[in-house]
């Protein structure tokens, strides 16, 4: 409609004003500022220093994993790595707000969340070393395998929540996805179905501002946390680089969901400090000014400042530094000792029961392998 059409609609039929219009973006909920000082809200809630230290530790170790894994990728030991640097607070703060039995459906960058769920470096890296489709038992870790197909995990989460409902458990489900995935049909189907069925799902969107090279500003016409209302669920908008605020908001959302009132939505504003993956060169599509701005909002350094201010002992930081160095060494040796998968195993992992086609293929493979052996 041109401007002239709108103007004439207003003049001819003033009673037909739209009944719903997009609402502007809401301020983020924030407890800790970029410089480590507490906001008014943060001051009124207070800080449990011991708990804050444990969140901080997980963020520091996750950052170290990210750095070491990228180095391993550059050294040819991993085929690919998707960095999570900058998003540690969004991940650690949210996953620590769940019960141990709650099931989590991640995207592919949730390394900090994975570590928090007890996934070991060896399990985490084996997929990226090309040794397995996934390195861990999703049911045992209560942390599903990574979904590389964009946004599909939100449907898995919704289906799983429907199952939890049928099984009559109190468990809820949390799924992680990004601002880019939010443009996928799958994610919107999952939001709609979860809301329609009042399923116990927390939809946790890490808005890291970039869908590979597409800025979030050109992804959507309305802020994501406002979109949730259209599906019929409450939403929170949180500073995703503030681990304490993320934790509190996720706790509130989880409480809402667990009480049977249907799904909830969280949009956490954060930033992907590195490229989309080790194959991506972000310098080709975004300026250094923006990266500098977000470096100043780093989730770890603001907590370093806050904990220092609250009197955390120097010994705590020293010990964490030493633990982090040991962790990096463990990651490296775990990566290098991941065994190459045996081709043989492929045939046994397709069907639960013996299968004639698999048996025939296994025999053909053996014949082929012996032939190669003979030639060598």
């Amino acid at each position: 409609m041109s401007n002239r059409d709108v103007a004439s609609l207003e003049r001819i039929a003033p009673e037909l004003e739209p009944q719903s219009i997009p609402t502007p973006e809401r301020d983020v909920i924030r407890f800790v500022q970029s410089d480590g000082s507490l906001t008014e809200l943060g001051q009124s809630r207070g800080v449990d220093v011991g708990f804050a230290q444990s969140l901080y530790r997980e963020m520091v170790l996750a950052r170290r994993l990210d750095v070491e894994a990228l180095a391993l990728q550059r050294q040819g030991e991993l085929n690919l790595w998707l960095q999570c640097a900058g998003q540690e607070a969004a991940q650690v703060g949210s996953i620590r707000a769940l019960d141990a039995a709650d099931m989590v459906f991640p995207s592919y960058r949730e390394h900090a969340a994975a570590l928090s769920r007890g996934v070991t470096p060896s399990e985490l890296l084996s997929q990226w070393r090309g040794a397995s489709h996934t390195g861990w038992d999703g049911a045992a870790r209560r942390f599903h395998l990574y979904s590389v197909v964009l946004g599909t995990q939100t449907l898995h989460a919704t289906g799983f929540a429907a199952g939890s409902r049928l099984a009559d458990t109190d468990d809820i489900v949390l799924t992680y996805f990004g601002d880019g995935a939010a443009s996928q049909g799958d994610v919107n189907e999952a939001l709609n179905w979860a809301a329609a069925m009042k399923l116990p799902v927390v939809f946790f969107c890490q808005n890291n501002q970039w869908a590979i090279s597409t800025p979030s500003s050109s992804q959507m016409g309305a802020p994501l946390h406002q979109r949730a209302a259209g599906f019929g669920m409450p939403a929170w908008h949180v500073d995703g680089n503030d681990v304490l605020a993320v934790h509190a908001v996720t706790e509130a959302a989880a409480l809402h969901v667990r009480s049977g009132r249907g799904p909830a939505f969280i949009e956490a504003q954060t930033y992907r400090m590195a490229g989309h993956s080790s194959s991506d060169d972000p310098g080709r599509y975004r300026g250094t000014d923006e990266v500098t701005l977000w470096s100043g909002r780093d989730p770890i350094s603001r907590m370093t400042a806050l904990l220092g201010e609250l009197g955390a002992a120097e010994q705590f930081f020293d010990e964490l530094r030493a633990e982090s160095d040991d962790f990096a060494r463990d990651i490296r040796s775990a990566c290098l000792s991941i065994e190459r998968p045996r081709f043989e195993e492929l045939f046994g992992n397709v069907y639960a029961e013996p299968h004639p086609v698999m048996e025939r293929e296994r025999a053909e493979f053996h014949a082929f392998a012996s032939m190669l052996n003979a030639e060598v």
């Binding site: 070491e68 180095a71 990728q73 550059r74 050294q75 040819g76 030991e77 991993l78 085929n79 690919l80 070393r129 090309g130 397995s132 489709h133 996934t134 390195g135 861990w136 038992d137 395998l145 490229g275 080790s278 194959s279 991506d280 060169d281 310098g283 080709r284 599509y285 300026g287 000014d289 490296r332 040796s333 290098l336 000792s337 190459r340 045996r342 081709f343 043989e344 195993e345 046994g348 992992n349 397709v350 069907y351 639960a352 029961e353 299968h355 004639p356 086609v357 493979f365 053996h366 082929f368 392998a369 012996s370 190669l372 052996n373 060598v376």
Partner: protein, 377 residues
């Protein structure tokens, strides 16, 4: 002694160019210390050392292109060397791996639960499956025969760039002069402008001041802002400066120019420069922006190198290469102090520009950048 081979750092790359060695033979390195910067078809990346030890041999000069899996650097390692399998060699050695698997069956998994989705059993559809014939390339992969070279037809931007540089290099006799400049004051100006509230939102970079310096120098010595007209047997001096900036863009090397840059104040120049760079990066530079340039800057310092001998943009009489800025020992008075220093190289068309004129221009650029306030920017 351990030789580290060039990994595939970007999912399916076949080669990479050495951009900058960060170590030299004899250097002691630790695990994850930077070894070298390489440029692949996708990006420039830094390769950290997988080993601790002493660098023994670098297997390629700066600028050399190495194939993936060829030796990159040899390190005399200390202590226990981690057994690094790597992922890049998986395909090549698959045959051996296959044989192993047959001889020694997989040990029983303590948790036999398979980490895959499991189907429900045989079905009609499954039993009808058939096999595709093995492809030639698959056979080649298994037997270790790989293509040793890649042939790409010369076309498009590559063809145009090649024709332009060849014509320029063999038509205009090039002379290149060099000057090393203390640009500390220039960087101070950049920092001051960035901090200035009145300049908020304006992109201020060292390149901006270099651009300004070249414009001022061209106005002072108009003979440099000229061209050789072979057809009319005339030397054409331009009374406007259309300042070209060589840009690596998604389409290849382009030299868009800022029209009549001499009439722009520093702030307008900054905005024009930011527009030019953003447009070039986005790959949407308009043909008009590429025409009628009069003099050019190539900012090779951004790529991490000190200097080079640039080739003239066809039809222009001069091009200035702006090298990397880095802290260097510098004599001030009688003392050696650390200053921010960069090299500049000016190539000019010797048919119409004599050494005196070229030297004057380069010296003027250097003098402005040494003391930018003097030039009343």
């Amino acid at each position: 002694m351990t030789t580290f081979t060039l990994p595939d750092v970007g999912e399916g790359l076949t080669e990479a160019e050495i951009v900058l060695w960060r170590v030299a033979p004899g250097d002691v390195v630790n695990v994850n210390d930077p070894l070298v910067e390489i440029e692949t078809a996708k990006s420039i990346v830094e390769i950290p050392s997988p080993y601790a030890g002493t660098v023994e041999t670098l297997h390629g000069e700066t600028g050399a292109t190495l194939a993936v899996n060829s030796p990159l650097v040899t390190i005399r390692t200390v202590g226990e060397v981690p057994v690094a399998g790597g992922t890049g060699v998986a395909e090549v050695t698959e045959a051996a791996g296959v044989a192993d698997a047959v001889v020694a069956p997989a040990p029983a998994d303590p948790e036999p639960r398979p980490l895959v989705l499991v189907g429900s059993g045989p079905s009609v559809a499954a039993s009808r499956r058939f096999h595709l014939p093995m492809r030639d390339s698959a056979v080649a992969g298994v037997t270790g025969v790989v293509a040793a070279e890649t042939r790409v037809p010369i076309r498009g931007m590559r063809k145009a760039t090649a024709a332009a540089v060849t014509a320029s290099a063999f038509t205009a006799p090039h002379v290149t002069e060099w000057l090393t400049v203390d640009v500390t004051s220039t960087l101070n100006v950049v920092a001051a402008l960035r901090a200035d509230r009145g300049w908020q939102g304006v992109r201020v970079t060292p390149l901006l001041l270099v651009a300004r310096a070249l414009v001022v120098a061209s106005q002072r010595f108009p003979g440099i802002n000229a061209s050789w007209d072979e057809a009319t047997q005339e030397i054409v001096t331009k009374h406007y400066v259309n300042l070209g900036i060589a840009a690596a863009t998604p389409r290849g090397l382009l030299v868009p120019n800022i029209k009549d840059a001499g009439r722009l104040g520093l702030r307008d120049l900054a905005e024009s420069l930011a527009d030019l760079v953003a447009t070039a990066r986005a790959g949407t530079t308009a043909p008009a922006a590429l025409a009628h340039g009069t003099i050019t800057i190539t900012n090779i310092g951004a790529l991490g190198v000190d200097a080079g001998t640039p080739i003239l943009n066809p039809g222009e009489a001069a091009i200035l290469a702006f090298g990397r800025i880095r802290p260097m020992p510098w004599v001030v008075g009688d003392e050696v102090v650390v200053r921010q220093v960069a090299q500049f190289a000016l190539s000019f068309d010797h048919r119409l520009v004599d050494g005196e004129l070229g030297s004057n221009v380069l010296a003027e650029v250097g003098s402005i950048l040494t003391d930018p306030w003097r030039a009343a920017l």
